[in-house]
Amino acid sequence: MSYRFYGGVHPSGFKTLTNDRPVKKTFIPKKVVLPLSQHTGVPAEPVVGLGEMVKVGQLIAKQSGFISASLHASIGGKVSAIAYSPTPTHPRALSIKIEASDNENQEFQGQFRTDISAFSKDELIAAIRDAGIVGLGGAAFPTYVKLSPPKGKTIDTVIVNGAECEPYLTCDHRIMVEKSKEVLKGLEIITKILGAKEAYIAIEDNKLSAAYAMEQALKAFSFQLSASSVKIIILKTKYPQGAEKQIIKAVVNRTVPAGGLPMDVGCVVQSVGTVFAIYEAIYLGKPLIERVVTLTGSAIKEPMNISVKIGTLISDLVSAAGGLKCEAAKVIAGGPMMGISQYMFDVPLLKGTSGVLFISDEDCREEPESVCIRCGACISACPMELVPTQLMYMVKNENFAEARDKGVANCYECGACAYDCPAKIPLVDYMKFGKAKI
């Protein structure tokens, strides 16, 4: 049984473009660009020098500080540059460029384990940290930090986030269908670390095939590491259900206090992709060097889910995937609601990039902004129960103090308000500006 969260919108899903397409084998590019800051927190520190040869999976930049993540070579080859380069999230960011060498074996040589019961909690956390795992849903928050709550905070509930509420994206859907058992194994590791009694796998009802696969796997699965109960929760599809605070409300009906974290209400939320990465890190000894992305949109010849090396340039990926069928008007890293539109194709895929959208001219109708008619659509859409239109006027009038008092900082830019606005006011722009000014 699931609960209701306030607000939300119902954009068309476009998921049928790719939701029945199995994840394609990893594409190995000739070069990768690995920005040092692909995660929330302090950028990683390079530990390799220019011209050095690196192997697949080798540590190339180490975590620096508590909230940070290590970075590994996603292909084997030569470090050809450590320089500023454009990324999907920053115009210029320090990145390590690796060029593949022909004689290098591009298969990752991991250490397979079948039994991990000997690992202690701390060893598991350290392994996850050293694998450079971050939240793969988009925010890219270092995962090990979420798994080591400060003293005094007990976590009783783990939620595997399979909502995948962004339209178009289907990578988590495919992982749940194809790697159900591995996801359960990953979940088992998390519950062991946290000692949580309850675990939920929350899936929106537009992915029933994933729910079915997970249910079958759950029936056949015997938990050895922890004694938590695992339930599959079917959620009613609504954007932004995959947002942490909203999925906690929908699954266990707890309200994360404003400005607080899920652990304040005893919850940890991990996306399906992250849970799978945890499985790979522990059972295969494999750092986060690959991820599944959805390549989709009206402009791409063949929409697909594909496993890619972190740092693959979008341009390389597009040509390898069969190219575009018409000129793209917009290229978006991520989903259509919260993704970031790119100005060029030569940007790398990051750890947190769950999809790349190629939108053609017809679909990219940028409608002119008109005046607010006070219809209240943004208010009924805002999952944080803010009043975007009034905040918009406060920001427009540079009345930032009032915007702060009216809670603009609670906005996490899901875009539900701007999606539903009949006057097509770019409300997220105003919220971003207001947040930057307080």
Partner: protein
């Protein structure tokens, strides 16, 4: 890549609903009531409607031009809607210069003076009607009975009759007559069933929410039942007071005007209750038999205050 890529902040997809679509949906929802009005009162009513719309759109175009705004904005439907609603609030037999004067006032003073669409405080159509009411009260209270009535040219509305007789039984219309529109009144307000059809369309499609109409109608029904009876408290004919006058038109189509009503549901309930209480007070105690127009206008003035005091507590709100 020859063509530059479009870069913008998300969301990169937008709902198909636009301001224009909303305005046209409300206009379409009002067509049954207008058609009924024309059927009941004859082609004079249609002339009033067309002249009113034309004057409203022309005024909007001229003022937009004067303000150096894009004149194409007249097709957003808001001026057409104002003209239409104003005509619905006029008696069917008025001389044609009256809707022209009303529309000019509604658009120029009611809307554009405040900065145009989205910025006006008062419902423009009602402002226009109030202006006509105080300027030419005789024309505005010369009613016609339906075409088929014996004395079709003059006569009073049911509310006006009971206002003067203090006795509901004297009203010249049964509840059924009120419901289907067999009575004297304004062009668009008489046929409640046609108004309801349009209102249901708007509600089902999500163009309006139930809060204002429900609060408004329920308040009028309760107060009338409690205090508007002839045999003491709780003897009023609630249904009569709900069906009579312009309540259906006002509650579903005028009070729900986005621009001049509160933003969130709590505020909308307060607004609806306020309209209901004022309507009752005007009908019961004031000189006018009908109070829908003025009560909505008065509550319009309170909207900024209501909005300020109903600002929601956001998700996870903690007391500071």
């Amino acid at each position: 890549m020859s063509k530059p890529l479009t870069v913008s902040i998300g969301p990169h997809i937008k709902s198909p609903r636009t301001t224009k679509k909303i305005m046209w949906a409300v206009t379409i929802a009002l067509i049954p009531a207008g058609a009924a009005g024309v059927f009941i009162f004859g082609l004079d009513a249609l002339r009033v409607i067309l002249v009113s719309i034309f004057a409203a759109v022309a005024t909007e175009a001229i003022i937009l031009k004067m303000r150096k705004k894009d004149v194409a904005a007249i097709w957003d439907g808001s001026a057409i809607l104002t003209g239409l609603l104003l005509a619905y609030n006029l008696p069917p037999g008025v001389p044609l210069w009256l809707p022209v004067a009303g529309s000019i006032f509604a658009i120029a003073i009611g809307k554009q003076v405040f900065g145009g669409l989205g910025h006006n405080i008062f419902n423009p159509a009602l402002a226009g009607r109030a202006f006509l009411m105080v300027s030419w009260p005789i024309y505005m209270t010369t009613w016609r009975q339906p075409r088929w009535a014996v004395d079709a040219v003059s006569g009073a509305t049911p509310l006006a009759i009971i206002k003067n007789s203090e006795f509901v039984g004297m009203a010249n219309a049964s509840l059924w007559d009120l419901f289907i529109g067999n009575r004297g009144g304004c062009i668009g307000e008489v046929c409640v069933v046609a108004l309801l059809a349009g209102a249901i369309y708007l509600l089902v499609k999500g163009y309006i929410t139930w809060h204002i109409p429900f609060a408004y109608v329920a308040t009028v029904a309760l107060t009338s039942w409690a205090f508007n009876g002839t045999a003491g408290v709780f003897t009023g004919d609630a249904l009569f007071f709900v069906l009579a006058g312009g309540l259906a038109l006002g509650a579903f189509f005028m009070a729900t005007d986005y621009v001049t009503s509160p933003l969130n549901s709590k505020g909308r309930i307060i607004f609806g209750v306020g309209c209901g209480v004022l309507t009752f007070i005007i009908r019961k105690f004031a000189g006018y038999p009908e109070g829908v127009c003025y009560s909505i206008l008065i509550m319009n003035a309170f909207v900024p205050l209501i909005d300020r005091h109903t600002y929601p507590k956001w998700f996870g709100w903690i007391k500071k």
